[in-house]
Amino acid sequence: MTATKVNTIQARYRRTGLYLLIPAIAVLLLVFAYPIGRSFWLSLFDQNLGTGLEPVFAGLNNYDRIIGDGRFWQSFWVTTRFTVITVVLELILGMGIALVLNQAFRGRNVVRTIAILPWALPTALIALGWTWIFNDQYGIANDILLRLGLIQEGINWLGDPLTATVALIVADVWKTTPFISILLLAGLQSIPGDLYEAYALEGASAWQSFYRITLPLLMPQVIIAILFRFAQAFGIFDLVQVMTGGGPGGATEVVSLYIYATAMRYLDFGYSAAMVVVTFLLLIVAVVICTVLISRYRSRTRE
């Protein structure tokens, strides 16, 4: 019997399964694995305008350059700051929106539709819109603040490092809070209502039940949202490219913008590959940390 095992039903299914997977895997390897692997390889070479765009082996020189590159570390800091602030704001706002949308009220479906709209729209176009809103002369942001008497004269939002960062954060929070609130909303709906009722019977206040039931039970979704958003925010490109182009003065230049400029503008391919590698490794580290957190959380709640 065992001799014919190769042709057993299960084996046949498995084989069919593999065939079904092959096209997808091939595409994924081509578009994901090759570029990443290639970057690792290329990061060991100098390939730039100085070398006539020919690769010349350079060992770890490019990594050496990164260490001494003030602009890379500035962009790194800008990205990290942007990521942390937006993710925190989006989580708080997203949680609020999710809690509201989880209530039953007239017109809830309409509000839900509206609430996911920002997420669905093209970032580049939305960024153009925000650029206009934050225009120093004709922007509505200034106009509203002026009318409210909060400022005395118009702010050149995108012209100042601090306000440009604020503008970017506002735009990103607007754009991606819906994503988080969707995730959290799904989490909220999977929490059985009788839990709240049981807890309420014990005399818990709304805040207590949020803190004691909602938050802990929502933790997996929160961690997943953080992970997703972290990766996305860390790789943000279009919003910044369109709104500030990294300016003023590199104050809003995120890592991906610098990598893009290094590759596509400076044609410093070896160096940009090294930056890709560094960013990639940092992302992996973050993912590992999050995964550990999730699994630890899950095993803890199971006990």
Binding site: Y13, R14, T16, G17, L18, L20, L21, P23, A24, L28, L30, I36, G37, I97, V100, N102, Q103, A104, F105, R108, N109, V111, T113, I114, A115, I116, L117, P118, A120, L121, P122, A124, L125, L128, G129, W132, N135, I140, D143, L146, W174, I182, L183, L185, G187, Q189, P192, L227, A231, G235, I236, F237, Q241, S256, I259, Y260, V276, T279, F280, L283
Partner: protein
């Protein structure tokens, strides 16, 4: 089924509301959400219909004193904006369809057929969803160079398909796992082979899921910027986001906000329609893709 949103089943049961401070605050929150989400879009829409004097009026003119379609007309006459719309549509639709064709069977295999290395593949796919496009750009550029794909739709279709594959696979897999296994067993007893079962039983049954996934894929493809910016330099082949971001004005130092606003409106209308019609599916797909993964 537990994490999909079913508006009929509420975590908090509806109670008859009385006008209390709580309800007032609650409705204020609802209004705030609506304003927060809609205001920037509305401002852009209003701008697109304003004459230039209104656009650059100080203090701001909120509602156009005179409605004008000039910016839209300029958009379509000065530039091949129809082409941009067409390019975006073509690239998005083709990559979406390809993605579903490749992704759905793969998702099924992962959900039910337990192929060799399935777990590793799945973990890899999960990881991949987190990679930002910038990490792939340079390598893809080389591929594009090697196969002379520059300024061809394929140079966008392939990356879009690939980038959407992980999400497609994750979402479809979670839908397939919810499918009652008995149905497939019954089909096997009836004599369907795997492919027939996929096409005749599983796919038709998960058509809503395919639509859901397809919409997500379409949205991502329509909105993509960095590859479209890099792999397409020919004007006729540009997609809407890139073309809009590159709209030039009549003077070097002036930015044409009217046409840009109009471009924004034109470029987002298809997506607004999608969201209006498929709100539920989008939410479902997103949660299935992220939470189940």
């Amino acid at each position: 089924m537990s994490t999909t949103l079913n508006p009929d089943s509420l975590a908090t049961p509806a109670k008859p509301r009385k006008l209390t401070v709580g309800t007032v605050l609650f409705w204020l929150a609802v209004v705030a959400i609506v304003v927060f989400c809609l205001a920037p879009i509305l401002w852009q829409v209003l701008t697109s219909f304003k004459v230039n004097e209104d656009i650059s009026a100080i203090p701001n003119v909120y509602f156009p004193t005179r409605f004008t379609l000039d910016h839209y007309i300029e958009l379509f006459t000065r530039r091949p904006f129809m082409r941009y719309v067409f390019n975006s549509a073509l690239v998005s639709v083709v990559s979406t369809v390809t993605c579903l064709l490749i992704g759905a069977p793969a998702a099924y295999a992962l959900a039910r057929l337990r192929p060799l290395g399935g777990r590793i593949i799945q973990a890899g796919i999960l990881l991949i969803t987190l990679f930002p496009g910038i990490l792939l750009l340079q390598g893809l550029l080389e591929i594009v160079q090697a196969f002379h794909l520059g300024n061809r739709y394929l140079s966008l279709i392939i990356p879009y398909t690939a980038i959407n594959l992980p999400l497609t696979i994750l979402v479809m897999r979670s839908f397939y796992e919810q499918l009652p296994r008995d149905l497939e067993d019954a089909a096997r007893v009836d004599g369907y082979n795997t492919l027939q079962m996929l096409t005749k039983i599983v796919m038709p049954l998960t058509l809503p899921a395919l639509v859901t996934t397809g919409i997500l894929t379409f949205i991502f493809a329509w909105n993509e910027f960095i590859f479209a910016l890099t792999f397409i330099t020919e004007e006729r082949l540009k997609t809407i986001p890139v073309a809009s971001a590159q709209i030039g004005g009549t003077s070097v130092f002036e930015i044409p906000y009217g046409p840009i606003a109009a471009a924004t409106v034109v470029g987002t209308i298809p997506l607004v329609l999608l969201v209006l019609f498929f709100q539920r599916q989008i939410i479902q797909g997103l949660t299935a893709g992220a939470v189940k993964g």
